[in-house]
Symmetry: D2
Subunit: 393 residues, 4 copies
């Protein structure tokens, strides 16, 4: 370990963790109450109701006390039963990766896989469900962050519902940054977290559970209880007069409340719009500067992440290190299969503001030029990003 | 849910969550860095090294991203193998409860049980190990919080080591508040958290793992990996140049660093001394006021929790609610078997300062008197607590 | 300077600065905006309107950018003109001290002085105004903090108004902790600050200015302008569309807003009631323990400060130092004439909660006993304080 | 007042107040201690010593409890005596404005005035001192913020010292952002504040006072004492064992300590270098985009402020409002004579990082283009700024 303290970056333009909103950072510092103090129990119910409001759902959500990988693992462990046949939709590293957890708990995992710069065709889901009518659960990653692509989850949801299967949606890095609501996409188990587009630190999972999903979990003899992996344990924990299965993360709950207040006061549609605009400006800048997007076509590009192809002959780690050293700007790498092939610019929460698109384009293109890339035009990139922003005003 | 906001209490004299140190609350609000940012990776290694320093251990600790129930469940899942015979020492609700997790993962759980106001006799452990030499793991809860009693873990540890079994210690609510160090008590898996005597919010587990425990976990085919329950996944995560299995709780790590700085700067021995003095003063006050301790004898009473018997005919929930309403002071109830029988006063972290013993005695005895208890002498209680404090100066 | 860091005390039971409310401490950390940013200009107007609401006044207040000594010096410099005859009411160190500033700016300062453990008799004011009808301004310190006594400012105000003079009220350490409102007491210039009963850090003055006072200041050729001492410069600064004379203290304004929100949400009457109760319990405890109050009679004792006579033969500095060392409790000393004769316990803002009366009595009496005082009964003191608290519930 | 809350801007690129460093914002929320608490007295001395270290001076500094206009007014009031002849150097609105205060306190104010886009020629000072040998005090504004120009204060200082007069330096918005140290520039009274390049909120003044200045103030019968305007009152207040003239601004002092720690740990030379680079990149970008700097030549342009001429036919208020609305970026206007003629970009403290130059150029040029300006080339501007940054690495 280097003995000298590495200075903080200036801008964290990653795909999560992202920097939290200032009001969230302050809320983390509220006095820590005893979890059974009536004031905290009330807060917990209030926060749960605000999550419900953000979800626009009829039922109460579940808050799990760990970042969304907990939510996803718990979803697999709880929802999937030994005999289940599961259809896993793999359009990226995260979606494909879910099969690992699914396989642990069910009888068979069928996969529809597309190249990791593309998205799932709903028709292929319909076809598969027809071919394999015994499929009980379909799992899809809405925003496969390592690819920066958005699956057509609402259409898939309709097909799954019509088939009578349950839909498990990973909306970790899309919820809060675009229009994806659990009931609107027919999700039975919808897993997200406050540490992406909601602008909180990592530490919690937020789940929507449909009646059908509750019923399936309750009927599942292997669904975890008395475990950190349990969803069932938390069914009634939102109620101020009910016990917690174990101590919730008090500070994170306080931070989440501040984030929900910001989100609901600004208005979800307004928040989504600035995520979309920032991404649009960023993509325009990236393309105009002479770089290429990773997604096969812009229509499937995420409003919360812009994945940029690493030009041939360049090293993504070097680019990211130099962008940090030169300009104090931090980007995300790819993951797994996409590692080394792309660099990701996050537009999430506090950084989902159009001016950050300019910062991102400048730092990324500028770094590549400084590292010797040819054929790039930073000025054109900035101008294109600005044009997109100005067109929206 | 009441629609009016319930005001915060004034003093949270519970056994956890306890209020955090002001410096910890501020540290939670540090900018949230990307987990793979070199500055955060460095911080994570630095924090791990400070945990090691606090543990006074030769090996590096593991930080798990959930409050200590995660640490304990992960310990059971990782350390215990299908064929193991486990000796579980049950002197209280938490110790006894561990058998539930243990049974999930091993062949047989043998129990030594004592009344829940007493502690384990090391000789009984020696006898049992002799009687059942196949015992591979012994599990003990050092401070059984629902009873406010301290097991003689160092003596037990010596016996277990001499026998050649592994020792799993739950030191969640004792570490940081008294002299209990993983290697000194011969613990192979030592589970604690920063949310008790270290004065952090709940959200992390801190583990010491001995070489033997690492070896046993690695040899255990059922030890979780690619799971929130995995300890193995985190073995090298402390290193700045190694990846995290999943995103750590950045804000909690920042808070933990502040807590470790406070702890190491004040000096562990000084911190333990003020925990001990606060508890001593509290016990003196409670007894002088005419109440009884829950522990069978004062020698086994915890320096971090004072458990007070609820007088016959009184209702513990009413007492706690009235103490909050009248004086703004919050106490903990019992748990499970001890629920209703005792009230617990926490002396943990920021509240482990002698003056809080006076506040606790005043609020508890005062409430009982206000509720009609007879034979109690508040003045005598306060005087006795003060005498104990003054004697130490 | 000692090279080792002196640890913070546990309880700051002083008469100011007092510890701030947690929500105020967090608000101080809001992002610092440019003073001419529309968001800050709006905040400044909003805060001014909340001060007005707390003042329950018809006119807009003035916020000066320095703690209340600035407010008081500015009041003297602005309101008093060269030819004025001023009546200064001196029942304590602060009231008497105002003559120093008054004399700097006016023709003559007449004084009514009473012993510093007593308060002004309104009749003496009426008599003096009759004897010296040329008196233009009457100055009174409502709560003479170094004595812990409360002058009958409403009655004095009525007399002054009937006489046609202007009334200048120092309500620095009473406003927010008891029923003292500028217009209700007929104050023309009312000076207070957020750093006492409002629970903010020191750094601002809050002024109410009557129409007559504005007129007099505007007619005063020597009233400061283009100066930190100017009140006139700030007349319209509360308006979002008007410039600031100089940069306001942005962070303190943010803290003040949080304090006003707390105050108005809890309800002024409720806030005053807990100040009164805390003081009443404290006085009961002090007297029952065998100590004497400084005020000549309890009826004039302040609800925000309890001044306790130092027993003969004891040293106040030693008592305060020992109370801090032993119990972590900090008290205030006397000032000027009262220095060494009394010790002051503050009941202001966050510490104006009854349980703190018990802490104060315990720490003060306990320290004296530990230092060898005889004839004191700590138990009786605590019991009496508790009885007062319980009687209120 | 609009009833809807105006959202915060994204980037405050002003010339002060500027946003504070995150560590400063957190430090403002430290518990508020009693000013006479030994821990706070120690802190005050520690902070004073750190100011001294930042000043690299032999003598102890004075901290005044109000933003630097207090420091400047107090300097005039304290240093200037009735009979003094003062030479005021006016190269901008602030420098010229000081004459107003000076005239209040001395016999005659002589002025050397240059156009407000230029700086003082040291030779003109030498000439004037020769012509008017009775000049006792020379006053100069080092960085005349409303012009963004830097006077050659070290050369002027040498001349003044050789003449035997005293030098009063306003270094409010330059200290901490460039190499200007009180003794190195021969300043007798050096006034600055932490709310510009040190990255604190406004609320304090920092003064260096030479032995000669102390002597002159002490000999000045009109130098304020017992007043907020007094410097003399605070001479020994830095000592932990000396009283404060009145309550210091506890929270601001805590914030200042954090800022000094950051400054001294990063290293003043490194801090100055990033201010200089940011300004250099900003100027390069502004010029390349087709705009003009306000300063007559780049050599006199400030490293902490870039003043940009408003193109003919454009309205500066509209430009600033649009830059905020479109991109969330806030700039400063001119002041007095420069109002409407220029727009100022601050490079102070946290925003003195090169990437902000790109943000500034983008937002300013972009806004002008969006408002219809012709002949501007945003791409060229950004490229030029980046080139300057890259050249430094």
């Amino acid at each position: 370990m280097s003995t000298e303290k590495i200075p903080d970056p200036i801008f964290t333009l990653t795909t999560g963790p992202v920097d939290a909103y200032p009001a969230v950072l302050r809320a983390l510092g509220r006095p820590v109450l005893y979890d059974y103090d009536p004031a905290f129990q009330q807060t917990y119910e209030t926060v749960s109701r605000k999550v419900q409001k953000a979800f626009r759902s009829k039922s109460m959500p579940v808050i799990l006390q760990g970042e969304p990988v907990l939510g996803l693992e718990a979803a697999a462990a709880s929802l999937l039963a030994k005999g289940d046949v599961v259809l896993n939709l793999a359009s990226g590293v995260y979606g494909a990766g879910f099969a690992f957890w699914a396989a642990r708990y069910c009888a068979e995992v069928i996969e529809i896989r597309v190249p990791f710069n593309d998205v799932i065709d709903p028709q292929s889901v319909a076809d598969m469900l027809k071919a394999r009518p015994e499929i009980r659960v379909v799992a899809v990653c809405h925003h496969d962050t390592p690819s920066g692509t958005i699956n057509p989850v609402a259409e898939i949801g309709r097909i799954v519902r019509d088939h009578g299967a349950l839909l498990l949606v990973d909306a970790v890095s899309s919820f809060g940054g675009m229009d994806v609501l659990p009931e609107a996409v027919h999700a039975d188990l919808f897993v997200t977290g406050p540490n992406k587009c909601m602008g909180c630190p990592p530490g919690l999972s937020l789940l929507h559970v449909s009646d059908a999903a509750w019923a399936k979990m309750k009927a599942n003899p292997d669904a975890p209880t008395a475990s950190i992996l349990s969803i069932l344990d938390w069914e009634n924990a939102w109620r101020a007069d009910q016990p917690f299965p174990f101590t919730p993360s008090v500070a994170e709950i306080n931070g989440l409340e501040a984030a929900l207040d910001l989100y609901l006061e600004e208005g979800p549609e307004a928040v989504w719009a600035r995520h979309a605009l920032t991404a649009r400006a960023c993509r325009a800048g990236i393309i105009a500067a002479g770089l290429a997007l990773w997604p096969a076509r812009e229509a499937i590009a995420s409003p919360t992440t812009t994945a940029v192809r690493v030009p041939d002959g360049m090293d993504d780690a070097q680019i990211r290190a130099e962008a940090r050293r030169r300009y104090g700007v931090v980007f995300s790498s790819g993951r797994g299969e996409t590692l080394g092939k792309l660099i990701r610019i996050g537009h999430m929460g506090p950084t989902a503001r159009p001016i950050y698109a300019v910062v991102a384009v400048t730092a990324l293109v500028g770094t590549m030029i400084a590292l010797g890339a040819t054929g790039l035009d930073l000025g054109a990139g900035v101008a294109a990003a600005m044009k997109e922003i100005d067109a929206s005003l």
